[in-house]
């Protein structure tokens, strides 16, 4: 999200940067651009006005105190970054655990915000940290919401308390209450209560949410909100705050291209921090929300921290080390190693999302969007159709072997040929590097890169050690 916002900021500040010495008028112009960008990003006008007023005052103050010759535009950039981070939550807050288990988390929000999927993601997230969560199906309204929770609960191996069928049958308040009792009796350390979506203006349903709240005394009420929401964000957030109340916010569907200005609005208006971010349909597309990272992302500085973390998670230390040792020992990088890399890359999540986290990614938006995820799967299929011998020694690949591999992987022989050629070239390049040559920007993983990516390689600011984003993040992180 925030892509266009970051490019707007970038253009506002490139104007400033190119000028060296900045006047008050330059600041006014930049602020106008920022104002427009924020409005296009759906930030509420009152929040925009407040934000730009602060930037204006602080920037102009800096102008007078800054020594001539120092980098004024950088200083102003820092002001914007700091203010943005502050509105976005200042610092990430973690869930408050109950002194006496179970910790109860209640989800609330509009219809279609993504609560049910999120419930499962939260459960998985805390299960991985050693908690023993249980999901409670208190959305008895939407047809088959209970089923949906049961299916996603099962997929993450978390029990679901669902005594009522839903579809309008059953009392959500008693289900929630019984859910807590059940969790206590089974010694679950955490209870996550899914509730029906409701409108801020629906007094009756808000009352029901309040009744659920009073029945379960949650340690955290999370307001779940779609990142694509527009100006209604502040009205709805205010209505939920005054109604059932909430302690934190979860932003969903952040993998879309919405600029997500609502995030700014909601935190600014309600003072409640955004705690989690949901970034895809897969259960693992979920993380703690990092205001600093998001601010950096808005400003076009890329979300390198997140990338590095995901890379570390995916490439378990062993295989990375093994690869490094091999490299140092002068052994050949084989297709087996390559396959391992591809698998680690798929483990890290969607390639487009990974690339989007890189600095300067705003400029290569088009390529990122057109990145064909299935290319990796197809490449993997080809390698997997090879025998161990073939993977170790490409030279044995004669015509009939190639034809067999093509049939086995459902690809054309020309696809197999292309992969072999690219890989051989990459191997050669690795050798050159080892012997003291330089890499002309070609990563070992290049076989998986579709042509579109290669033709227009991203303009990199810094010379990086590896062209493979995942590896590079490892080296830097």
């Amino acid at each position: 999200m925030f892509d266009s916002l970051s490019s707007k900021f970038a253009s506002a500040f490139s104007g400033l940067r190119s000028r060296g010495k900045i006047s008050e008028k330059d600041i006014d112009a930049a602020i106008l651009e920022i104002r427009q960008a924020l409005l296009e990003a759906d930030v509420a006008l009152e929040v925009v006005e407040d934000f730009t007023r602060k930037i204006d005052a602080q920037s102009k103050e800096l102008l007078h105190t800054l020594q001539a010759g120092t980098n004024q535009s950088q200083a102003i950039f820092d002001v914007v970054n700091r203010e943005l981070t502050e509105i976005l939550g200042g610092g990430a807050r973690r869930i408050r655990f109950a002194k006496k288990a179970p910790t109860v988390i209640m989800l609330a929000g509009l219809q279609g915000a993504g609560k049910t999927t999120l419930a499962a993601k939260l459960a998985k997230f805390y299960k991985d940290q050693g908690e023993t969560p249980i999901l409670v199906a208190s959305d008895l309204q939407r047809p088959n919401a209970v089923n949906q929770l049961q299916v996603v609960g099962q997929s993450v191996g978390v029990p679901v308390f669902a005594p009522e069928p839903g579809n309008g049958v059953g009392n959500p308040v008693s289900v929630a209450k019984d859910g807590i009792a059940f969790a206590q009796s089974k010694l679950h350390s955490m209870v996550i209560v899914d509730t029906a979506g409701r409108l801020g203006v629906d007094a009756e349903l808000m009352q029901e949410a309040i009744a659920i709240r009073d029945a379960v005394s949650p340690d955290e009420i999370l307001f779940v909100v779609d990142a694509m929401i527009g100006q209604d964000a502040i009205r709805t957030a205010q209505a939920f705050l005054n109604g059932v109340g909430f302690d934190g916010v979860v932003l969903t569907k952040l993998d879309g291209d919405a600029r997500g200005g609502a995030a700014l609005s909601i935190t600014a208006i309600t003072g409640r921090p955004i705690m989690f971010a949901s970034t895809g349909e897969k259960i693992t597309d979920f993380d703690i929300f990092y205001p600093e990272r998001m601010a950096s992302r808005i400003l076009g500085m890329g979300d390198v921290a997140t990338l590095a973390e995901q890379a570390k998670k995916a490439f378990d230390g062993d295989s990375a080390k093994k690869l490094e040792d091999k490299f140092i020992a002068g052994e050949d990088f084989t297709l087996d190693d390559f396959l391992e890399q591809l698998e680690a890359m798929s483990k890290m999540g969607s390639m487009g999302k990974l690339l989007g986290m890189l600095p300067g990614a705003g400029q290569m938006k088009k390529q990122i969007e057109n990145f064909d995820e299935s290319e990796i799967t197809r490449t993997k299929a080809i390698v997997q159709s090879m025998t161990p011998l073939e993977r170790r020694d490409l030279k044995v690949l004669n015509g009939s072997r190639r034809a067999r591999i093509a049939t086995g992987s459902g690809r054309k022989v020309s696809d197999v040929n292309a992969l072999v050629d690219k890989f051989t070239a990459a191997q050669k390049m690795m050798k050159q590097v080892r012997n003291g040559g330089t890499i002309p920007g070609a990563p070992p993983g290049m076989g998986g890169m579709p042509p579109a990516m290669k033709k227009s390689a991203p303009p990199q600011k810094k010379k990086s050690k590896s062209g493979n984003p995942a590896k590079r993040a490892l080296e830097n992180g």
Binding site: Q36, L39, E40, A41, D42, A44, L45, E46, L110, Q111, G112, A113, G114, Q141, R142, P143, N144, A145, N147, Q148, Q150, V151, V152, S155, N167, L199, G200, V201, D226, M228, I229, G230, Q231, D232, A233, R235, T236, A239, K253, D255, G256, D257, A258, R259, G261, A262, E281, E369, N370, F371, D372, E373, S374
Partner: protein, 278 residues
């Protein structure tokens, strides 16, 4: 007090409203999700008008932004195939049910196709609606290809001579190329049997400016012929739909105003415009 009455009481009789009034008016217009560009245009035009004319002028400009395309559902041939598409959680499945009810109440024979084979319990959700409404719902085996379910549905619709076949599809974010390609495939496969006469994009009224991007990219993938604007029963006014009509000439055909199957109506421009300026 609505924006209009406020606006009118402020600018009536005077040549211009004060700066403060204009800020207030701008705030209100922006709050409808019309987007900053359209709002700037409206304000510029209104500021040139005298007094009472500003009122008429703003509404006139808004009306002129509406698409001139027909808002009727096409019934080009039988069965008329309607594909319902959109991002996650906008109300596609519910809208399919509502539209089915809407059509059956005018004596049309309707069939439902459950082509959301991705989201957990999505097929059952549509099935439940079908059962409630007494309408046959076609679904595939577990984790079937959406295109193959759509294909089976259209064949069934031909066989039983339905007037309409409404196909529910999985929610997908428009910036996911693979998922958009999958949608294109659903349409192509259906068209091996019958042309798709309507592709209805479901837009949630709470959506902000991202709605424009949704409409644009869905249109590129499957040529959207109309919009269903849902959740107008909330506090959101759904102004982005007008921005979409203006930018892409796609008409809003229906609105959703609640969770029940009757909370649905054909689009009415006047009440929509009044809502925007409420």
């Amino acid at each position: 007090m609505g924006l209009f009455s406020r606006l009118v009481s402020k600018v009536r009789g005077t040549s211009t409203a004060s700066t403060l009034d204009w800020v207030e008016i701008e705030t209100e217009l922006l709050a409808s999700d019309l987007g900053p560009n359209l709002v700037t245009e409206l304000l510029d035009a209104a500021k040139k008008m005298r007094g009472d004319d500003a009122e008429v002028s703003i509404k006139e400009i808004l009306r002129s932004k509406l698409s001139s395309q027909s808002r009727e559902l096409a019934l080009t041939q039988s069965p008329c195939v309607v594909l319902v598409v959109g991002v996650n959680g906008t109300g596609k499945t519910t809208s399919v049910a509502k539209l089915a009810k809407f059509l059956t109440s005018s004596q049309k024979k309707v069939l439902l196709g459950a082509a959301d084979t991705f989201r957990a319990a999505a097929v059952e959700q549509l099935q439940t609606w079908g059962d409630r409404l007494g309408i046959e719902t076609i679904s595939g085996k577990e984790s079937a290809e959406p295109a193959s379910v759509a294909f089976d549905s259209v064949q069934r619709a031909v066989a039983v001579q339905s007037d309409y076949l409404l196909i529910d599809t999985a929610g997908r974010l428009h910036n996911k190329n693979d998922l958009m390609a999958e949608l294109g495939k659903v349409k192509r496969v259906v068209e091996k049997v019958k042309p798709v006469s309507e592709v209805l994009l479901v837009i949630d009224a709470t959506t902000g400016q991202n709605g424009l991007s949704q409409a644009k990219i869905f249109s590129e993938a499957v040529v959207v012929t109309g919009i269903i604007l849902t959740k107008l029963d909330g506090s959101a006014r759904g102004g982005v739909a007008l921005a979409i009509e203006n930018a892409l000439d796609i008409p809003i055909k229906f609105i959703g105003t609640g969770e029940g199957s009757d909370d649905f109506a054909a689009f009415d421009a006047e009440s929509y415009l009044d809502g925007l300026l409420a």
